[in-house]
Symmetry: C2
Subunit: 138 residues, 2 copies
DNA sequence: CATAAAGTTTAGCCTTGGCTAAACTTATTA
DNA sequence: TAATAAGTTTAGCCAAGGCTAAACTTTATG
């Protein structure tokens, strides 16, 4: 068993913090993409996007409203707030850079799509910058 | 906003599956490492390792026992089962390969330690093989 | 315009994964 | 050997994130 890295509670603390906002990042990314494609976003669109129930989406949207990342009245379309848009663009960019990076490494497209969905939330900006440079020179 | 990748419910389903076993992977890796360093593993060791409370560790160990990944009697040291050891070695190898990969890319050691802690759970074996090859030729 | 279909929200459930506090057990020390 | 310290387990709490079912609302259709 070889271990060159060092573990520490900080590593897990950071991971936990990243997990806490994972759902917000996924939802604003989804809303941004659906809005871009269709012009408006409904709960049923997010149900299909994530493969979860209507009740789950409804509940999660309420959390995003509470975080002031989206706006939505009862039975009305869902909109990103300014802060939501910022987070959406940031998350999408990170996701795209990582995805591109994986495909340029030689990871099959389908695998890169799956892996990047989970990995994206754990990439720091330093790591992302290095991946971006790699993308630009490969 | 540029998106070259395609999203799908499968991506989230796979991510969710990976998240479901994340805690098991972290715990068996930790138990393996602590046992390697100290010769035995107590709850308080895992508390320090993860930076969580004694009650949390106690509860989580019960889940690993239920999954037959560890063995432990009340107030006794914690041991990995055969299945636990296999998962621990597999997780550690994946973690180490990813960590090495990040450092070889130029990611500072501390950042690589933090990022790999979360990323490791979302790396498929195809992606890992490519990273391994990269490590061997850089 | 009434009915049906589709979509949304609420209620209540479950598991997970964290916490504090209290009670229990083991190990250490004076 | 008794007292103290350290470690462990249990109880009960919380929020998150999923579900089904039922009730509500909007949209589409005949």
């Amino acid at each position: 068993m070889k271990i060159s890295r060092s573990s520490s509670p900080e590593n897990f603390s950071t991971t936990k913090t990243r997990k806490n906002i994972e759902l917000f990042e996924d939802y604003v990314e989804a809303i941004n993409e659906i809005n871009f494609n269709k012009g408006f976003v409904k709960n049923v669109d997010l149900c299909k996007y994530f493969g979860v129930s209507n009740a789950t989406v409804c509940k999660n949207i309420k959390r995003l409203i509470k975080e002031e990342l989206v706006e939505s009245e009862k039975y009305r379309s869902i909109f990103l707030t300014k802060a939501g848009k910022i987070l959406a663009e940031k998350s999408n960019t990170r996701h795209e850079v990582l995805y591109k990076f994986l495909t340029k490494l030689g990871v099959p497209i389908r695998i890169a799509e799956i892996d990047s969905e989970g990995m994206e939330h754990h990439v720091s900006k330093e790591t992302l910058n290095i991946m971006k440079k790699f993308n630009n020179s490969n």
